[in-house]
Symmetry: C3
Subunit: 390 residues, 3 copies
């Protein structure tokens, strides 16, 4: 028993550490995608989210999510810190998608509410105390590491935010979509790869136990499937774009990988290799299809977060019912989970962002956007010694 406690604690600390690599992962990815004039502000948002969301979750959110849960399989602080490592990710998804026009202060305010209340509520009804138990809304969803709980949750909050905050100044003018290229491809690549590695901890650690042969097998299966789906998503996205344009589009390949990783997250403990290839591969294709569709309806998402996280969060949760359905896991149970969490997160996020936006403008002024948010929000240029073309 003591041995199981020790090895589970070590394993959870290892998994948690991998997830924390997602903090520089998201930061580098977003810093590479936005224009140089907004790089410092996007990095600042990433740091603020890690700081504020984590503190909010430790002090308030964890209690809401898990209540008086008894953790006896490992050290409770290791468990709390592992769960804390998740919370910023959901908000990163949201903040990335409103990049280049959302102001830092209201974003930080929303982060407090998301980290202390909204996200913990979602965890509560999915993995935790379960206040909906014995009600008609009680969830019966298998979502190992958060295709819905993390990724769709972040995605729904993002959709609400975009509807309120609007698109970047100059992005859509007279039926024209202005293409804004990523400013630093090495950073995009580094960030995506750090996220990929972090996912091993995210999904593997969510098994929550490695201290028996069966548990160790589940952990290994989960990490293997996670990686396989990432590979498949990158491959299908790459092939799709290559067939269309005869070019290799690294941003789409990387987003395809992330889409595959999101898609596998709900059921990585349940699939075989072929399932993982299919689910991840569809995830990659969904990304390359969804990105231009969101643009078509004038939903401006600089990092493709809706395509990667919302669409694939839904797909991944649905896929569990499709590929791993059994007596306890059903397609209807999965859909019910997607719907209840989707509706509640979207509605609550919309109301809160709307309220914050009434108190202080969430959106930077057109002038501030033109000059770049680094000047107005941070007073610090990202690359002050480099001559720029724009």
């Amino acid at each position: 028993m003591a041995d199981a406690y020790i090895i589970n604690t070590l394993f959870t600390l290892f998994a948690m550490t991998l997830i924390i690599f997602m903090v520089p992962g998201f930061a580098m990815l977003e810093a590479g995608i936005v224009r140089t004039k907004n790089v410092t502000s996007v990095l600042t948002v990433n740091i603020m989210i890690y700081v504020v969301a984590s503190i909010s979750f430790i002090l308030i959110g964890f209690q809401i999510a898990f209540g008086d849960i008894q953790i006896s399989t490992m050290n409770p602080l290791a468990f709390i810190m592992f769960q804390m490592a998740f919370v910023g990710k959901a908000i990163n998804i949201m903040s990335g998608g409103v990049g280049e026009r959302a102001k830092i202060f209201p974003l930080t305010l929303f982060t407090v509410i998301m980290g202390a209340l909204i996200y913990p509520f979602v965890v509560n009804i999915s993995w935790g105390g379960d206040i909906l138990k014995d009600t008609v809304l009680d969830l019966n969803m298998h979502d190992l590491a958060g295709s819905t709980v993390i990724h769709s949750t972040g995605g729904w909050a993002l959709l609400a935010a975009i509807l309120i905050i609007g698109s970047r100044k100059g992005r859509y003018v007279n039926d024209q979509i202005k293409v804004i290229p990523a400013s630093n491809i090495p950073l995009v690549t580094l960030g995506a790869l750090l996220l990929w590695i972090g996912w091993f901890g995210f999904n593997g650690g969510s098994v929550g136990n490695i201290a028996s042969k069966e548990a160790a097998d589940t952990v290994a299966l989960t990490i293997f499937n996670t990686n396989t789906a990432g590979l498949a998503g990158a491959l299908t996205a790459g092939i799709f774009i290559y067939l269309r344009y005869k070019l290799f589009d690294i941003t789409m390949i990387l987003n395809g990988a992330l889409g595959g990783l999101v898609a596998i997250t709900a059921g990585a403990d349940l699939y075989d290799t072929l399932n993982s290839l299919i689910i991840g591969g569809i995830g990659g294709i969904l990304v390359v299809i969804a990105v231009p569709l969101f643009d078509k309806v004038r939903i401006d998402d600089p990092v493709g977060a809706l395509s990667v996280h919302l669409i694939n969060g839904i797909w991944g949760t649905f896929a569990v019912g499709l590929f791993a359905g059994n007596e306890t896991i059903t397609l209807m149970g999965q859909i019910k989970g997607i719907a209840i969490i989707g509706i509640s997160v979207f509605a609550v996020s919309y109301a809160i962002i709307y309220a914050i936006n009434k108190i202080m403008a969430f959106r930077a002024s057109d002038d501030a956007q033109l000059e770049g948010l680094d000047a107005s929000e941070c007073g610090i240029e990202s690359y002050p010694e480099f001559r720029r073309t724009i």
Copy 2:
């Protein structure tokens, strides 16, 4: 017993690996802060320190630090390598603060002496063989992972070095302080976050044992408190600057996090969450207060190393007596440790840097500084294809 040996070896190798991530951590942080004309040289210094300090410590320093200590709880080479991972950090603190004007060759010479003799002596009297045992100078300081042993030690050596080497050419002219902005904010952010993650190994691994329930609990508590203090330091530094300037200053937020991490390092195994928030939070505020004060007295420290490491190393060691005093841990014991190590490291470092400086100039010429040290020291530009504004 064999099981404890195995799991402690694995745990220490894991912790050591996290600390090695601090090598790119310091390198990226410093490369991002200095001007582009000094980036290659600062990176070279970072690599040389890891190489030369580690070899010096393996061949000479470890024996001085730990003598014939019997390591039976884990593989001895794992223990040596874990300790080796520390030594370069103390020197990184010093080298960063004399960046943009100290020459690489004398810095490397000092690194040999610091890695082989000075740092091992500090370890000896704090954690190791203890040559001061049974003397009036015998230390009775609780310093889990080196608020004093690593961070203040590096800080005192840095203070000695700055007094001898002087400030960067053009930094203080006619009562004016020339502000020199960081050249690459994404690198600064990446570096700080890698340091943060490395700290989990630094402090967690310093517990030295994970092979019982009590030990696993202490490791988890230590890592949890470490992270919490980093969060708190970032938050207080961020709020402090925001209240004053209505801007989000990411370099101060990150330095605040590092200040909180330094402050918690001496007693991360002893505190509860509230203590960790307070100690780390004060650490962050100390950084934002200390940075302009050092400038006021013309102590030129490009990376804020004195504020982060020296001031918070002292604060963190003091805080152990304040927050976790008991029969064996006393405020006086902590102060005595701070003083004895501070005085001896400062005096010895001053003498050695003074001597090296007599043999060969430690400081690059004004012309070399103007042109940048990359040209005179390395012959390699950091970003040769990028047009620069200066």
Copy 3:
């Protein structure tokens, strides 16, 4: 028994994760070395290799390499994923050396064949099913983690590729060698350090067992020696260049470290510290000697991969016989392994690259090279907002 299975699975997942850090490691290293006009394409190649080689190995290669091997000491999927993490590395070595002129599509094709067939064949005769058993060609080579199996294999494939594809346009003109400086030194440094850290997993994990005192000792010894050889290689390369030019050449220092790491890889489980310093130190010197020699014979290798991986792969495998020879490990056995694998990989790679080159040009046109491969292959600039000097 269950305990050994659990801890070996955890250990192998940890080691595998460290190896995956080599994916951003190689990507950042190469992105930093090539000119800015080729950065996106070199990053795309790195991602494609990880994706395509891994899938090829999972679906086909592993079976060829290990057949129906019974893995009972850990979870089989953990073992497969650990082995999968190796395969891309051999191809990265090859792709880096033909950077700035090889096209992505034929490189990807070659990756499929390398990942599904060539590399698995090498593994088969070295570590796996061993189809040469009981023949005169049966290998008796000690190669712990692939000085020959990975590094020379990649190097021989690279040599074949360079002979067919040729040097970069404009590199050798009228007996002049045009020096092409690295475009981004921080990325080079970051990449090399990530590779260094990844090597701990590469070599340590190759011990394959940590579940007894003896096994844990071998793992710790292996990781300690690995790091020591890297230190020594960096040091000798640095000293060598400094004595000649009175300059600190960070690219040579880092390549020296990598050379030392390659050299130790075959026998890191066998040496003492002094041996590791010598073998790694010679590795560093071999790099600084070999780099100009390859240029002299007009073999154009932008990243120095032949010097680092081929030369030191041979040296490291040879060194096992020299420093750790005994009744079962002989100098002749090591040389035989080097020769059989060298000849077969070079011949097969030459034939396949030759064939691919007949079907579709492997080499980008002179115009495409002049403009940069990012334009013709990817349609995505790496740093679109930065003004460039060339």
